[in-house]
Amino acid sequence: MEKEYWRWPESRWTAPDIDWKSGDIISAGVDVGSVSSQAVVMVDGQLFCYSNIRTGSDSPESAQKAMDKALEETGSTLKDVHYTVGTGYGRVNVPFADRAITEIACHARGANFMYGPSIRTILDMGGQDCKAIHCDNKGKVTNFLMNDKCAAGTGRGMEVFADLLSIPIEEMGSLSFKVEEEPEPVSSTCVVFAKSEAVGLLRKGWPKEKVLAAYSSAMAHRVVELLERIGIEKEFAVTGGIAKNEGVVKRIEAELSIKALEPQHDTQIAGALGGALFAKALVEKQRGLR
């Protein structure tokens, strides 16, 4: 079998100092995306554990796998969770979820927790979509747009280039800076046309790092254009899989002349985290606490 350069590693994390047994509300969020799925479990509003896995062909199964992986080694099971919110593209396919909430609402809420209440603009670059979200100091959405129609500016576009250039996806960010001079961005927005343009550049003798730099800046430019539709307010953060690609993030920062906040956790968990926060609020509502 050919090497699959686009494949990225799965991961999980547990907070070192939380005793879930003494927790009052155990809430969870599961984000089933088109490419990756995450599960986040919180104990009384504190981040307890999370996982990040690849979505398989079956959404309910992926949701279950993400949850199992998050809870692995924590001593707790799904039965201990009081309320689960499903989110993401496959949100209605989370069999154990009590409610489904859109990823737009969840991302804003999750980013508010991850980056603090000063966060106003979130750019979420997922596997098959790209979202620009504005929120208030409580993480409530005030303006958003989502592009899930076109592959340009999504992780999928980067995967196409990982395969074309035979570069493992995790190395694409750093390799894109191994150029003497920043080349002109690839001119086509459309991924299909950008790919044929790149083939032409390779034939012309461009090293693959240079082609990668040209595509990374085209991608950055593309999402900046999308962001400009709703405007950029400080503070600003990038979430989703592409947030891990410094080649794109640094170019976005350069184009916007704004620094993105540094993430403390996996940038892909924002949606599931927001789901877990909504789950907690919904339990409080049920119990008449809010």
Binding site: K149, A151, V191, V192, K204
Partner: protein, 259 residues
């Protein structure tokens, strides 16, 4: 009077030689990395067929996305203008010209004198052009020439949701996994692109007769889907991919006559 029209398209360069309004020869070459050379090659082939040299041509007019690359051309014309010229000359009853090439789709409305009344172009997005079917053929693991005839054998319509060629590729793969026949998937592909081309055409106010030109007009599956979507018959000229080149040649003829 001998003239030539040359269409530097995204995938192929097409050259056509006219002696007054008689088509003498045609030639095409794949648009390579060096389009100047491709243009030279296409014209070279046409000249060889016609049996004379470039010096004997009174005028050369270029069109197509790479028209600036045809350095030997004296004048240029847009694809919209060239198509209008060609179709009004070939089929004077035509009021709408739909041109679907490898990377662009366009719809042009012309009056009884061949003057352009309105036009709309779908560019820079592979979903609305020939590249779409090509990419889908690859996902179906069949040759691009096969996808059209295959689609005609379809038994039922399968909806296709993706509007992007990249996403549609994965949708095709999941349709294969869901055990849909290749015939039905091929038709879904053509219905999807025909839907986009049809709405582009409706946008300019579709008026009969309607001609379909461009390389994609050779794809019988697409033609079938487009006819069904528009619910009318389409006039397809012989060698539809040469429509732009022919239009450019007519422009060259006018220039040569001092028009």
């Amino acid at each position: 009077m001998r003239v030539s029209g040359i269409d530097c398209g995204a995938k192929f360069v097409k050259a056509l030689i006219l002696d007054d309004d008689k088509i003498l020869a045609k030639g095409s070459a794949a648009s390579g990395f060096d389009q100047k050379a491709s243009a030279q090659e296409a014209l070279g082939k046409a000249l060889k067929e016609a049996g004379f040299s470039m010096e004997e041509l009174e005028h050369i007019t270029a069109t197509g996305t790479g028209k600036e690359e045809a350095a030997f051309a004296q004048t240029t014309v847009t694809e919209v203008g060239a198509n209008a010229k060609a179709m009004s000359a070939l089929h004077p009853s035509v009021r709408t010209v739909i041109d679907v090439g490898a990377e662009e789709g366009r719809a042009i409305r012309i009056d009884d004198k061949g003057k352009v009344v309105d036009f709309a172009i779908n560019e820079k997005c592979a979903a609305g052009a020939g590249t779409f079917t090509e990419t889908m053929a690859r996902a179906l693991e069949i040759k691009v020439e096969e996808i059209g005839p295959l689609s005609l054998k379809s038994q039922k319509a399968v909806p296709m949701n993706a509007q992007c060629a990249v996403f549609a590729e994965s949708e095709v793969v999941s349709l294969i996994h869901a055990k849909h026949s290749k015939e039905d998937i091929a038709r879904a592909v053509h219905d999807a692109i025909a839907d986009r081309i049809a709405s582009l055409s409706r946008k300019i106010g579709l008026e009969k007769d309607v001609a379909l030109v461009g390389g994609v007009a050779r794809n019988v599956g697409f033609v079938d889907s487009l006819k069904r979507d528009l619910q009318l018959d389409l006039l397809i000229p012989e060698d539809p991919e040469y429509s732009c080149a022919l239009g450019a040649a007519y422009v060259a003829l006018e220039k040569a006559k001092g028009g």
